[in-house]
Amino acid sequence: MEKKAETEKAVWQPKIIAFVCNWCTYAGADLAGTSRLKYDAHIRVLRLPCTGRIDPLFILKAFERGADGVLVSGCHPGDCHYNTGNYHARRRWTLFRELLEFVGIDLQRLQFAWVSAAEGAKWAEVVNAMVAHVRELGPFEGYHTMLARSGQTLWLAKAGANGGNGSGHDVPGTQPVERSKEKQETE
């Protein structure tokens, strides 16, 4: 039993959701890919038109679905495709951070960045740093416990360490731990 717990701990990998804007960070991430830059794969990118479109509800929803961390990234100030979207967003997040910290959430789990379309390397760096931070913190036990107690399903947590089927839905017959083992054996 202890051994099993140990294995599970060993295969635990953070699930991080990144909300990025279409015009800068998404293009930046694309550049990282086309430049063949390697970065940590434990991040799932969600593209939105603008950082101004990222509602605090999205961030809460990500945590509710079992994310261990959330990264938000968009155009540098002054570079917004819609001129001012990121400035408005910045105000909201300044307040949202304060609020989450006040209710007891570690702000390492919610990070912000400006990554332009030319900053593929910065994107890789930002992601690596974020994943490393969250890996150090471990699973978001507080939120997970609250969800479990409330009878809520941890979609992402169940989807497995390697990303599940990418939809975030439970897939019958795929046990995250077993699959990770399989992968280790084949490697």
Binding site: R90, R91, F96, L99, V103, G104, R149, Q152
Partner: protein
């Protein structure tokens, strides 16, 4: 106060009889002694039912955005100095047109027995009348003169002492504290209903395509609800405390709102409900806003 109530009744009678307003919102007799209830009247005959005493706690500004009231025409409304801030907020956000409302400011020595905590720190015992400058809400009528002097402007430390007490707790304890508080919520939404600034026709919690906020009264859903509620009121809440008084579960909602007010003041140098001409904090931005937390 006896004189003030007669003056108020006479004024309401006059406004309704002359047709200056079609509906008048004030306080009436409550269900039990020591309580009042909002009273909404449309005929001058009922002006005598208006009440003004130590127990006029409700923030009546909430009715200014209710179509049941506004559809009748021009609204006369009783406000205390603190409620006037909520009206200011509604004017700032374009929810109320100044010409559609006749504001009757009541001088107030503080409400509640014992005195509400917020009233001890009140600096608007007497609402501003017609002589107010453009940066203050000018009531059409001001009744009485407060006997209690306005509190001295406190430093931020004293003003937000209760917020600071929570902030000083370690992260895990803060989490545990709010888990316990939110865990008690029964999702009656009384906090939303009494809030003059929570005027959305369709609240985020009622949107179910997709369902952003779980509606069951479990801690996770409650957590999301209260966080989003505080977020939506950030830079808008005028601190009237109606939500906390309405809460049947005694959740310290004011604490969340005050925390946001403190953050807005610190980061954006803005206080909600002070200046009808100012742009609300989250509606605007500065190029120089804090940027340190971005990687």
């Amino acid at each position: 106060m006896a004189e003030a109530v007669e003056e108020l009744r006479a004024l309401a009678r006059d406004l309704l009889a002359k047709g200056t307003v079609q509906v008048f919102v004030g306080y009436g007799k409550g269900a039990s002694p020591g309580r009042t209830a909002p009273l909404i009247i449309t005929s001058a005959d009922r002006a005598a039912e208006l009440v003004w005493d130590k127990h006029c706690l409700n923030n009546l500004a909430v009715y200014l955005t209710r179509s049941e009231v506004t559809k009748r025409g021009k609204v006369g409304i009783v406000v205390k100095g603190c409620d006037a801030r909520a009206v200011t907020g509604l004017l700032q956000e374009g929810q109320v047109a100044r010409e559609n409302v006749v504001i009757v400011g009541m001088s107030c020595d503080g409400m509640g027995e014992p005195l509400l905590e917020a009233c001890g720190r009140c600096d608007v015992h007497t609402p501003a009348g017609k002589d107010a400058d453009a940066h203050h809400l000018a009531c059409d009528y001001v009744i009485g003169k407060a006997a209690v002097p306005d509190a001295q402007k406190e430093d931020e430390g004293a003003e937000y002492a209760d917020v600071a007490r929570i902030e000083a707790l370690p992260l895990a304890e803060r989490w545990a504290f709010w888990q316990e508080q939110f865990g008690r919520c029964v999702r009656c939404y009384a906090c939303r209903q009494v809030c003059p600034l929570c005027y959305c026709k369709r609240c985020a919690v009622e949107k179910n395509e997709p369902q952003w906020l779980a509606t069951s009264a479990h801690t996770a859903g409650n957590f999301a609800w209260h966080v989003i509620r505080a977020m939506h009121l950030a830079g808008r809440c005028v601190g009237c405390g109606a939500c906390e008084r309405a809460c049947p579960q005694h959740i310290p909602l004011s604490l969340l709102n005050k925390k946001m007010a403190k953050a807005v003041l610190q980061h954006f140098k803005y206080r909600a409900g002070n200046d009808p001409t100012a742009a609300p904090a989250v509606k605007t931005f500065e190029l120089s806003d804090e940027n340190d937390y971005f990687r």
